[in-house]
């Protein structure tokens, strides 16, 4: 009972708090996630973000000041010059001095805003001297991050929505990071200038993390530049900001900013993982190994469109499909190159050859398909090389 009353009281008070918070320039919690009843932009954890926030507040306050004056005159007129009080209207209809004044004053105010805006913009555009370059590629509907390593192999991985379908469908309780959680976050070292090279594979996307003050359109055929330099460690969350089709609302971004040492450890692990995959690509697998791995890959990358039992959905059914029960080369082709004009994407660049081989083998031997044949990583490799 008490709790409920307290909640009600909070709810009643919230509009007041909301307004108060709107008019306070005080620091905001530098949490990387949105806050309940949050009414203002986050200054974030970068110098540029703080400058953007200051500019935002400057313009907001100028607008509030102008608004207060203008609306005061307006409402004063409505009250003081009502016909019951003021029967004889004045007849004036111009005043050159006044009109010049209200052209010049706004112009001067604009200059006050333009100066910091220009300076901040110049800083945003200065992508020189980055210590780390990361290529970000938007896909329908996930992000690919590729750490560009001048001294060796690049490290790359995909980052997609982790939130359970049951939460979206309201059959399970929603977690606090609902729709803002991914299977593999981008990891950045704290206090380093990081340059992002942003592009897209299919349609337009936009990479936006409010706390890092970065938003850049991801455009196929173009590489846009942006940069950030996070001053605090933490987990920062964002979303795709450009309509990109069905699951536009379901391709979040999570950035994990860590200490330099942790970043190095993480990077070493990633490199070891990549080396491991490389080794696996030279191996020959047994049927059981392929099917087991393929099942994992299927449930991660295919299940959303083709269904848990290969029954189809957005995508065609896999059970008894002419492709999964047809020629192996064609089956590999569909996975590697996708089917243009349909939702079937080209997975050749998204999955490694081991995973591709495994998922082809799995789908040829599951859901009632019983082809009995195996595809090895080398087969996929040869197919890619041959085309």
């Amino acid at each position: 009972m008490y709790l409920q009353a307290k909640r009600l009281y909070k709810l009643a008070l919230s509009p007041v708090l909301m307004l108060l918070s709107l008019f306070s320039t005080g620091a905001w919690a530098n949490d990387g996630s949105p806050q309940r009843w949050q009414t203002n932009m986050t200054p974030g954890v970068t110098e540029v973000g703080a400058k953007i926030y200051d500019l935002h507040m400057l313009v907001l306050w100028i607008c509030v000041a102008v608004g207060v004056i203008v609306f005061a005159v307006m409402f004063y007129s409505v009250f003081a010059y009502r016909r019951d009080r003021h029967q004889e209207p004045a007849t004036f209809h111009e005043n050159t001095k006044l009109e010049i004044a209200w052209t010049v004053v706004p112009f001067l105010l604009l200059i006050v805003m333009a100066v910091p805006a220009t300076n901040t913009l110049i800083e945003i555009y200065d992508t020189d001297d980055a210590e780390l370059d990361i290529l970000i590629t938007g896909y329908q509907w996930k992000w690919k991050y590729e750490y560009i390593n001048p001294e060796g192999d690049n490290v790359s991985f995909f980052s997609s929505l982790l939130t359970d379908k049951a939460e979206i469908g309201n059959t399970e309780d929603k977690g606090s990071n609902y729709l803002l959680e991914v299977d593999e976050p981008l990891v950045l070292p704290v206090g380093k200038k990081v340059r992002f090279l942003v592009t897209a594979n299919d349609v337009l996307h936009a990479w936006w993390v409010p706390a890092l003050a970065v938003k850049r359109d991801a455009i196929p055929g173009f590489i846009n530049e942006a940069w950030t330099n996070a001053t605090e460690t933490g987990v920062y969350r964002g979303q795709c900001a450009e309509l990109c089709g069905r699951d536009h609302g379901f391709m979040p971004i999570v950035v994990n900013v860590v200490e330099e040492a942790d970043y190095k450890t993480w990077m070493a692990d990633k490199q070891a993982e990549a080396a491991e995959i490389k080794k696996l690509m030279e191996q020959t697998f047994s049927m059981d190994e392929l099917v087991e791995r393929g099942k994992t890959v299927y449930n991660r990358s295919c299940v959303a469109c083709h269904g848990a039992n290969g029954e189809g959905g957005v995508g065609k059914p896999i059970a008894n499909s002419p492709i999964a029960t047809g020629e192996v080369a064609q089956h590999i082709n569909v996975l590697v190159n996708g089917v243009p004009g349909t939702a079937m994407q080209a997975f050749g660049g998204q999955l490694n050859d081991v995973d591709l081989a495994a998922v082809v083998t799995y789908t040829r031997n599951a859901f009632g398909n019983n082809m009995g044949d195996k595809v090895q990583p080398i087969d996929v490799y040869n197919f890619k090389k041959g085309q």
Binding site: Q38, V59, P89, G249
Partner: protein, 518 residues
Amino acid sequence: MGAHGPAKGFTRWLTTTNHKDIGSMYLWFSFAMFLLGGSFAMVIRAELFQPGLQIVEPEFFNQMTTMHGLVMVFGAIMPAFVGLANWMIPMMIGAPDMALPRMNNWSFWILPPTFLMLASTLFMEGGGPNFGWTFYAPLSTTYAPPSVTFFIFAVHAMGISSIMGSINIIATVVNMRAPGMTYMKMPMFVWTWLITAFLLVAVMPVLAGAVTMMLMDIHFGTSFFNAAGGGDPVLFQHVFWFFGHPEVYIIILPAFGVVSEIIPTFSRKPLFGYASMVYATASIAFLSFIVWVHHMYTVGLPIAGELFFMYATMLIAVPTAAKVFNWITTMFKGSITLETPMLFAIAKVFLFTIGGFSGLMLAMAPADFQYHDSYFVVAHFHYTMVAGAIFALSAAVYYWLPKWTGRMYNETMGKTHFWISFIGFNLTFFPQHFVGLAGMPRRIPDYNLMFADFNMISSIGAFIYGSSQLLFLFNVVRTITHGKPVSDAKVWDGATTLEWTVPSPAPYHTFSTPPEVK
């Protein structure tokens, strides 16, 4: 006074060349589209009432946002102002009709089949347009549903209708003013429409160009917007916004005109700064051609371009502010009464100014990196489009309804409509500033729990605002059938323009002999 009355039966409406008939058809059509587009908005707000997917699938949600924008912009707001122009411009300048009456008939009758076709795409295989009302390529080309071709045809048809309508308005205003009606004596509504018509003639062909390039990319193997074929997806945005930015002034300038008529009438005082209003309108129109890139700050432009467009955009604040100051100074020391048209007009000035402030904030390129494509933008343009344009339209209907029908609307019901609209509107759109600043992107069917409170408030506001429009409809219909007849030609004692010199209701033919304007 002409001896010919209207023909009888349905063919009257099909074949009419009378500006009043055509004006009425435009207004009824646009109201129907307003309800259709509004019902799409209700679906959107119902889905966003709570986090999680409850009512529609994301694919259909995208169709709803797209169709809501298209129907509201091209089907509701634009035709409504053309309807007002048809009814009022000839009567305001003392002309017997529009200059090109047959073309007038055609520019209206293109619209109903066009929108029927556009709406029918929702029932086609693959669904209707789902790429946003801005239809950025390649989502609208390579990745579009098959119905996109119908969408392209519809845009072409609306464009033809708009171009013909605006040529007609230009021809009428330039050639058919009554003797003595010099340009600088024209009512502000006529001035704003004249400038709007030039904007339309200039940019509708650009839109037609954009959709034609899409058509070529989709069906004829070109690669205008396809990077893989050597094309440029950003080109699409440049072409679209070269149309799109003047388009928003096409929507708002006639609304400025309406307010510039209503505020002097109910303040019983002449419009302050008439000449500066004309120059401000012309400056806004000129600037509208050199600011389009502010819709594309995050697209990756060179800094010099970014700065140029930022400064140009900020400049628009100067003439726009001058207009607001003029309206307020008109009210200052007037003798004000607050009938429904005046309430809507004042609210329009108040709320549009708030939309102008957020527009100034959005003009700041660095800050736009945080605002862009967030709900902050959604809040901004609804303050300008709904409060700026649709409130002005409501004001215009209440203002001129007695002249059109010869009957007075119910004032209490009108004021009730106003207050419910005002509260519903602000409840819907003010919280959207907050969720946008907190990081909620636009055009998403589902969101994080932290955005839930404001979204629920917003949805409740939308249902209130939406249902208040049914009261509006009821009031208008009731006026036509049961309204108290007005005997006076001059319904409002403060009105000064020529339309108030003809009887109420305005006869089928007016100013067959031009009036003398001193």
